[in-house]
Amino acid sequence: MIEVRDVTKRFGATVALDGVSFRLDKGEILGFLGPNGAGKSTAMKIVTTFLAPDGGTVSVDGIDVLRNPLEVRSRIGYLPENHPLYVDMMVHEYLQFVGRARGLAGDELRRRLEWVVEACGLGSVFRKPINELSKGFRQRTGLAQALIHDPEVLILDEPTSGLDPLQIIGIRELIQGLARSKTIIFSTHILQEVSPVTDRVVIINGGRIVADGRIGELERAAMGRNRIFVAYRAPAAEAEAALRGLGGLHEVRPVAGRDGAARFEVRTDFGQDVLAPLGRLGQSRGWDLLELQESPFSLEDTFIALTRQGAAPREVSHV
């Protein structure tokens, strides 16, 4: 549905995008992650035809963004990072304006208006001036604007930035609700927002794609090892020596634990069962087992690891 191939973009001497490629199939949701200034917005502006790429090709539904930008635009609903709102208008005037500008009229326009007002929860502010709206309602009005023409593709640049937790959940639910019928790219630098909505992510840093795949795969690839926490009621030095004597552990590191507990972080290969041996170790020595848990790396760890490595582009897997 969306195909970005080898796209580069420069602003003067700054390279904003450097050989960016990714693709998205119909109905997929993509979380577009990266630190501020990584090139997320630039990439989205190129897909929406607001900017033209210096090199490479971008197509939406098989249509090239340079050759036929108007066709591409008619298929896309776009929420730019800055609220694209005319604050001197009322919510309904504004949505009518965008609807008309997108070719809707008459009954169809009325039907779509009713739908977006319902879907975005704008009923209570429908006839209010936009400059009187709270940030959450402004964001929803922006989202309603992107949805008014029932686009196949939705491009949302930081749809939850600056919102409070309840509003974030609202926007997230809205995106989830649209998920079945639309192809969606949304960008964020807040990692917790990705996993409830989708597990497909592209991570960009310094204008390059540093990872592209499912969250789980990325975690493994980025961190290499599984992580396990184990704690015994035992003398620390003795327990550490015993753990080091156990086969299959790559790393044993004492970490802070409760009083009287010897607590360790150990690393193993993925797919290797070490929980049972660790349990038996305690039994055989007569130590109480206080903690034994697999602690997979969070998206944060992955993100930090990948954006630090960012100098060299790596492809983890293509979906």
């Binding site: 607001f50 900017l51 800055n82 609220h83 709102l85 005319y86 500008a101």
Partner: protein
């Protein structure tokens, strides 16, 4: 064309959504009519020559104030991205904005109609000159407007857009003033006359003011207006790269 119409409606309404429109129109009418009435009572002539004679200078301030917001405001607020990702050509968006600004100017100009009506009641004005004067006012305003919308696109800040637009209009005005072109001729032989003939608006405007309708004058105004609108459209496309 219906695309430009949608933009036109929104932009035209935007002028009247804020009190600025009314302040603008009132200032326009009070200043113009005030400047006209003093010599009118002194000379007691039933013509509008003084009225139209003031316009080229007066509009240098008025028109850029109307056009300064056209792109600069969108660029600052983020709606520029919305407009440039609508399924219509950027030239259609521009045309909608341009025509909305023109319509606003026409409304202001309509407010001066009591003057010719008063003249017709008091005396026997040369209606051809009045008609030519209004046509000249429209064409002159249209040209300044095209200059203004172009300069508004170049900048993000409305005040800078206003000043740049004013300077550009003032330049068009100055090169058509004989004293200025003679001075430039003194520096570089023939250059001042060339500028005056090619770009100076006063000779063309004064012909219309006398009620003389000549193709050359129409071509000058409409042609130069088109040049600035095309420049604006080129800038809108070129901005992507």
């Amino acid at each position: 064309m219906s695309n430009a119409g949608v933009i036109f409606r929104r932009e035209f309404a935007a002028y009247f959504n804020s009190p600025i429109a009314y302040i603008f129109i009132i200032v326009f009418l009070v200043l113009n009519c005030g400047l006209f009435m003093t010599p009118f009572f002194l000379a007691q002539l039933a013509d509008m020559r003084d009225f139209f004679g003031n316009l080229p200078l007066f509009l240098i301030f008025f028109i850029p104030a109307v056009t300064m917001r056209l792109w600069a405001e969108d660029k600052r607020s983020g709606t520029f991205e919305l407009l440039m990702t609508l399924p219509m050509k950027s030239s259609e968006v521009m045309l909608g904005k341009y025509l909305a600004a023109m319509a606003f100017y026409v409304v202001a100009l309509l407010g001066t109609l009591p003057i010719p009506i008063m003249l017709a009641m008091l005396g026997n004005p040369d209606l051809g000159a009045v008609f030519g004067g209004y046509l000249g006012a429209l064409l002159l305003g249209g040209l300044y407007m095209a200059v203004g919308i172009f300069t508004s696109g170049l900048l993000r800040d409305q005040i800078s857009a206003f000043i740049l637009g004013m300077l550009a209009c003032f330049a068009l005005f100055l090169v058509g003033v004989p004293a200025v072109s003679a001075t430039i001729d003194g520096w570089v032989g023939g250059f001042g006359s060339f500028l005056q003939n090619a770009f100076g608006l006063m000779p063309h405007y004064q012909a219309l003011q006398r009620g003389v309708l000549e193709l050359g004058d129409l071509v000058y105004f409409l042609g130069l207006t088109a040049v600035f609108l095309v420049l604006n459209a080129v800038w809108l496309e070129g901005r992507k790269y």
